[in-house]
Each structure stands twice: as C-alpha cells, then as structure tokens.
Symmetry: D2
Subunit: 296 residues, 4 copies
C-alpha cells in the first residue's frame, strides 16, 4: 500500500521501518530530516515537506503531543493537501478534546480519521509487538488492516468514535503511572522496616503482579536505575494531565491522578527532569527521609 | 510432624486440610467447634481448648486480626502452655506493632516465632498454591519446611526478623487495593466517554496488566459482580489501615493509602459492608454520577 | 479622569458606578448593551464598540475569564486602538500565563499594564469596599490611584510585575476554597456524632475563625443555603484550576487544591452546577451517607 | 468550691491558677511534683497521690492524651476513690472512643462526667480567655459554672452527651491544621512567583482571613519562626489522627485530614519533631524545591 509516515521519533521510526519491511511504499517526513535517513536507506522515500507525505491511500502519524499534531495537521493546513478518501492513522497520545476536534476536521474534509494509539515501548515497536487500540469507521479500519498488522501484535477495536481510542490510551497510561506509584509507596514502606525494595518486589512481581508493567518498572525501582529514561518524567506529568483534563470534561473525579500529579511535580522540582517516570520511587523515599530519595 | 492448627476459617481449614493430607498429625482448635468437623473426618484430632492444640513440635495459627491473635496467644496465656523449642507459624495478617510484640513475647518464653503470612484466596489455599512470606530464625524455618511445602506453592524467605514478613504482607495487600482503585478510576473515565469497563479492562489485563491481581479483580469490576465477597470491604479498610499505621510508625507518607481509606469509608457509608473490596469501582462511578454507582 | 470601563457584570457595574460617582468621566462598553443602561443613567457614556471605550488616560476591565480577556484585548486588536501611555487596569482573575502574555503585549504597544484583581463580592464592590491587589509600574499605579481609591477600601501594592498580583489573587481564592472544604469536612464529622453544623460552626466562627471568609461561608453551610449562588460551583472549579496550573508552571505541588478539584467535579456530577461553591459541604455529607448530602 | 486539679502542664497550671485566684479551694496533683510548686505558693494544696485530689465537689483534669487519661482515671482506679455526685470536668483533647468509655465508666460509678475541652494556648489560659466547649448533664454543668467562668472567656454548651464536646474539639483542631496547610500551600505558590509569604499573608490576614487562627499562624509562617513550638508537630499528627479515627468510626471520609497526615509524617521524617505544627509550610516549600524548605 502507498502510505505516508509523519513523525520519526524512536517510536515512529520503528513503526515506519516495519511498514517498509512489510513491503509497503512508504514516504516519510520528519521535522528534522536526519531522523529519516535510516529509513531511506531501508527503502523509504523522503518527503521534503509534509504535504508530499500525505499523497497515498493512508497516512500514519506519530507526533509528540497535542501541539505537534495541531501544528502539522490543523494549523499547517495538511488536511487540505490530502485526497478525500485517504485514511489518517493517528498513533499519538493526545487529549480527548483534540481527538474530537481532529475527528470533526477530518470529516469536514472527507478524510477518514482513525485514532490508533499504541501501548509499547520502542523495543516493542521495533519487534512489531505493539498493542494498537483503534477507533474509526469500520471500512477505514478494514482498509488499513495490513498496516496495523505490520506494526502491532494485536489491534483492539474500540468502535467508530476516535475519541474512544484516545481515552483508552489515556486511561491505560494512568494505570501504568498508578502501578509505579503503588510500587513506590509499598517498597518505601518495606524499606523502612528493613526489607529491600528488590526483595519485596521480587515476591510481588513473581506472583500476583507477574505482568509486564510491574516486572518492567519493578526492576527499575529495585535497581534504582532511572537513567536513561525510557519514558521521561515530563511525559508522565503530561499524560496524567491528559487524564485529569479528560476527567474534568466529563466530571469524573480521579483522586489517584491527583496524587500522581503532585508527585510528578515534586520529582521535577528535585532534578527529575531527565529521569524515567518510575523515579516516582525517589519522591516516596525522599518524603520518608530514606537514603536514595534524591536524584543523583 | 506433630502439629497444632488454631483458627479454622475458610483459609485455615484449607491449610490444615493440606497438612493432614501430607500425613502430619494435626490437632485443631477453633472458637466455634463446628468448623473443625470436616477436618476431624479427614483425620485431624479435635482439641477442646487451645492449650491442647499447642503440644506438638509446631503450631500454625490463622486468626482473623490483631485482636483475635492477641486474645488467644497473649491475653489467653497460650504461650505458657507451649514447650520451649516449639515453633509457632503465624499466618495471619497483623500489624507491625503486634508482630514486634509477639516476637518479643515468644522469645521470652523460648518459643520460636515465625511470621508466615500468605498471599492467596481460599481456592489457592485448598490447592496448596499459596505464596508464603516467612521470616524467623533460620533453624526454625528449616524445621517447619515440610509444613510450608504442604501448604504453599512457594515460600519467600525474608530474613530473621518476623516483622519483615508482616510488613511485606501489609505492603502487598496495599498494592492489591491500589490496583483495584486504579482500575476503578480508569474504567470510570473510559465509561464516561462511552467505552465499557469490560472492553477497556479486556485490553489492559490481556497486555501490560496480564497478571492474576488485575485479571481477577478486573473481571469482577467488568461484570459488576461484587457479591458474594471474596474479600469484604471492611477487611480492605482494615488492611489499608495496617499500611497507614505501619507508615506512621516509621514516618512514611502513603498518599495512595490515604485515598484508599477515604474510598473504603465512602463505600461503607453507602451499603458496601458485605461487598467485595473491588466494589471501590462503585464509589468511583457514583462520584462521577454514572449508573451502576450504587450498591444494589 | 477620563477613563474607560469594559465588562459590566455585577462586579464591573458596581465598580464603574463608583468611578462615575467619584466624578470621573467614564465611557463604558459591554458585550450586551443592556447592562450599560443603569450606568448611562448615572452619567456614563456608552461606547458602541470597545475601541471607543479605550481613548481615555486609563481603561479598567472586569471580564469573566481568560478567554474573554484574550478575545477583547489580544485577538480583538484593542491594544492597537489604545494610545501609548494609557494605563490598563485589569481587574479580572486570570491565569499567570495570560498575565505574562498581557504584560508583554502591552509593553510592546507602550501601554502600561496594571494587574489589579479584587477581593470582595458585588455588595463590597457597590460599597467601594474592595481590597485591590495591584502590580505594575509604580508611575502607572500612582497615576490611577484616584480610580483605585474610588473603587476600593484599600490597595495592596505587589511590586512591578503584574504576574505577582495575579498569583496573589489565585492563591487567595484557593485559600477561600480550602476554608470552605475544611468547614465542610469538619461539620460533617460533628454531624455524624450528633452536633449540628450550625452549633459547631457558631463556636468556630465566633472564636478562632472570626473572619469574613469563615463567617460568610459558615453561615451558608450551617443553613444549607446554597442557592442563589454568590459564587457558583463552576467558577470554583475554574479558580482552583488556575491554582493548579500556576503550581504546575513552577512545579509547586498543591495537594489541597487536588482534593478541591475532585470535590468540585463530584459536586458538578451531582447537580451542583448552579449552587454556591460552599455546597462542597453537600459532597462531604453525601460521601458520609448523611441526609442533606444531595442537591435539591 | 472545693475542687481538685489533675495534670499541671502549661495549660493545666494556668487554669488551676485561675481557680485559686477566684477563691476556690484547689487541691492539685501532677505526676512530677515540681510542676505543682508555683500553685502551692499561690495557695493550692498539694496532693501526694491522685486519690487525694479528687475528694472535693468537682475535679478538673488536663492530661496530655488518651493514654494519660486512661492510666489515671480508668486503670489507676481513681473513679473508685471519688464520691458519687462528684463532677469530673475533663479538659483534655481525647478520642471519641475514650470519651464514650469514660462517660460510661463514670455513670457506672454515679459520677458526673463533663467533657470540657478548651480552645486557646497557654497565654489564653493564663488570661482566663479560653473558649470551653462543654457537654454533660445540665445539672452538672450548672454546678461547675463558677469554675468554667474562672477559667474561660466563654463556655459553649453542646448538650448532654460528652462525646459531642470531644468531637467539636477534634473537628476544631482539624480546622486549625487545615488553615495552616492552606496558608502553607498558598504562600509557597506565591513565593514561586516572587511574592514573599509575608507580603501575601499580610493581605489575606488583614482582610478575608482577619481571625486569630490565621493571624497567629500566618505570622509564624511569614517569619519562618517555628521554634520554640507553641504546639509541636507530633501533637498535630496526634490530633489529625483523632479526626481520622473519629471519621472512621462513623464512616466519614476526610480527604483534607488525609493530606495533613501525610504532610505531618513528611515533616517528622525531616527533623520537624520539635517544631511548631505551622512548620507544615516547610514541607510545602521543600516539595516545591524552594529555599527555606528544610528544618534548620
């Protein structure tokens, strides 16, 4: 399939690479061109401007946040450059408000908007093992199924309304942050009584919590290895902010999200800018006066 | 081995049954005698008074809470009835303060105190699939190893100090309650945007959260099936209270535990007395004004 | 002094009226013209468009929120219509981000921007008893002193940077909301033990808390008289949101503000849209299962 | 009137002194005798044992906490030493559970139990300016009215049930702690934007919050003068604990109290043991990374 790919960070590059590998004709664009080079060497075509990347049957995008999506697709006028009937697969984690706005703007241009946020880190993206939550017109989803299959292990359909996929992604990331905070507080408690975080988390993540989320972040907390960040603290704050704003839009109190917000701010106020979000464990330890409660 | 077993609720009965099945000579005692009958029919011996149940090489106990443990072992004078050298395996979830007090009282009587709280519900107890967290003198643990192996899938040693096993159990239950609350809030958020809890939790518990804790409680929340309770709301409040008190003892702030406490109280104030603790999801839904936010 | 006044809600009308009464030549503008009539009958001049209201030595504005201020002064191009040297007194409660943006935009036009948010309700505005927090260039403040004196009981200077006055107003409103919540929780607790809110709050607001904030809102809570709203629930949510966003901008955790946010949402999810923000007491009562915990 | 006084800390000594000054025949007892000397020099009689201090028509007690009250009056058997018809005025801040237990134990001995906790610091006690919240049998209150008038500025009757006075005191202290935390967070926010706590709190405590609670603690926060403690951090934790436990007893969620509890623990974990409870402001500042966020 002739497909464009916009946004070549660590996630986008890996996903676009899998499209190329699956034999699709991929045209890529990224704000800084250097990121496109490895893909070009694999066979992708480079677009000098974004409007050159949206001329196929489908366009995938994986941009950093609301602002970047808005800049490129709404303010940048990219929708005008796309043919009616094109399917836009937006893989970014964005606010429910922007999801709604994008759905309406695409509809006004006769373009199919499919929200398709992903669960998985860059290594999962590279291995085509992402879990993709997708919502949009069934015919559009059917059309891009080969793309989804090339990038992910499984696609989880969430119905017609793209907002539904966005809220699932937001709620899922909130569950991840909550899992980190629960391990942070619980292991600080055991440490205060002489049980190392590693010993405690070993029990929990081998038994009741034997799942990737707990095993992955539990290992980082046990080893106090917060750098380099797989998912940096400011992104954690951004994502819990998306949950809070989504909750506000429908009047859903989210007290755990409120606690997370305070703790991300505490982390950022203590040098946590470039640490992995699992360094919430440093906040818990510092508040309890334990060693290891400060960013190195 | 000649062993006593005190406390025959649904957990204790199943555990004692496995000791009998493994060929140990088990003498049982329970406040209400009726609970002992099935075990007697399997070959256990019935003690009319607790002091008759503590005459073997080891004594296991699985009592409901601090008060019950205190009544039987401290105020009831049972330690006086035990021979020095006996090993007492306490499987109950108790406070760190009582764990400390018990350790000292046993030591004063020359009795080995091993804290051995368990993770697992009655069905896991019946299947001898408990995870047992054990702390006490290494020689004592070695001596009761056949008992632990008869009751559990795995024993997780936590060192000499019994308090360490108790705090691990407390911290683990706090993680369970946090997982429930995170699913409660997150699925309330998705419901407010049209995604059923079942659809959302299906994605999460099949992927990043594919672990027993999330799959078990996620299913209850998805089906709004909170009755009969596997672990009732007042027990949830009690256990998060143990975490808060343990935190207070070492000056460990636990903001998630604080939120849990408020929400357990809210549940209890709205008819949740006999519901499973996963009915925290009703509190989240009620606060957001969603249907299904009230106990039937 | 020749002065314009933009925004004639209940606060703005009262303030502009006092300027007229003090002998200033006031030209008024409001989106809906009807609100201007009483002032015109007192001697104010009516501007058909906002640019006609900004031709004096000073312009006061009292608009509802960030969006209204942005629409009129930034997007509406009003700054272009103002003479360099004009002083703009902005009385609205706005975000720190917009305060910063306004300060810069005014500076670029050579216009003096003075942030002058007020504490006080419409009755205090009518009686010229407002407390005005003012920040801007000292020369500008000096110039508009007669206006400030005509509208307020006292002006509290906060230095050169207009953002400083805005943050004081935001922090002050957060303290008001916290006072309401503290009374809501505390009186729910006493009610649960048989002491009516009125009896409890009578003691507190006659002694340690004998201050306008507590006496005013305490009376509303004691009498459960939340309608008509003096300051409606959605405005409370908006203002605590300004505090949270300001905190986020400087990485200041505000756990009380987080609790307030959840409770405002809970109130709004239960029919509190048109109630006074002191109806946070209904949320506390409802969560505890007490009568009077629902909006009528 | 012939009256005993038990418990001569800074509060009790001042209160007993006013009874002596009012011409009552006061017999005093304190665990450490030295504290009684100044009162003896004023004319009080010294009791060598507590049972010698309870032989009058009334007994006042001002002990530190639940444990001290329990030790002296319940476990110490003092009720047996009192004549039926004696009135016991308990001025201590105690739990609702102990208040209930004391009421029942006194009734069983035919002794009148009047809960009479006080609002006010030692200087107010010395000046006989306490606010006394009193609950008990009306005839008993009438009988001790001369004592209450000698010690306080005003007595606030709360009905027959002594528990009611205790819960009012607990709820009142919770409101004080909430006021401190609100000032702590709000002034941290303004500081982060360049407005000193002193400047901000000056506005607030001169206007909407012009009340003793805010002016007193606001001054301490503005001056960062947390030592010597008027009311030490561990007492703050104890009192918010009384509110939480009272709430738990009637299933009243108290989210502000939960936040306070975490922050008291944070303060204690950072060297705040001997600081005034208004040093909650240090916790807020430290979490935000501001100077002055550490105990000296």
């Amino acid at each position: 399939m002739k497909v464009g790919f916009i946004g070549l960070g660590s996630m986008g590059s890996a996903m676009a690479g899998n499209l190329v590998a699956a034999g699709h004709a991929v045209t890529v664009w990224n704000r800084s061109e250097a990121a496109a080079e490895p893909l070009v060497s694999l066979g992708a075509k480079l677009a000098k401007t974004p409007d050159r990347a949206v001329l196929g049957e489908a366009v995938c995008s994986m941009l950093a946040n609301d602002q970047a999506v808005r800049d490129v697709f709404l303010d940048g006028g990219l929708l005008d450059a796309m043919d009616p009937g094109t399917v836009h697969l937006n893989h970014a984690t964005i606010s429910v408000a922007l999801a709604r706005e994008l759905a309406e703007a695409h509809a006004a241009h006769g373009i199919d908007y499919v929200a398709a946020p992903v669960f998985g880190r860059p290594d999962a993206a590279a291995a085509a093992k992402l879990n993709i939550v997708a919502a949009g017109r069934p015919g559009a989803l059917e059309k891009v199924r080969p793309l989804l299959e090339a990038m992910g292990a499984q696609t989880w359909p969430m119905g017609d309304d793209p907002v539904r996929a966005s809220v699932v992604k937001i709620a899922g990331n909130f569950m991840l942050a909550s899992a980190i905070e629960a391990m942070a507080e619980a292991s600080t408690l055991t440490r205060a009584y002489g049980v190392e975080a590693a010993d405690f988390l070993q029990v929990m993540t081998s038994t009741l919590f034997a799942a990737p989320a707990y095993q992955g972040y539990g290992k980082l907390i046990a080893e106090q290895r917060y750098s380099p960040a797989g998912f940096a603290m400011p992104l954690g704050l951004k994502d819990v902010g998306l949950a809070l704003v989504a909750g506000e839009g429908r009047r859903v109190p989210l007290p755990f999200a409120g606690v997370l917000r305070e703790n991300f701010l505490d982390a950022l106020a203590h040098g946590g800018e470039s640490l992995d979000w699992s360094a919430l464990a440093l906040v818990a330890a510092r508040r309890a006066g334990l060693d290891g409660g400060d960013a190195a």
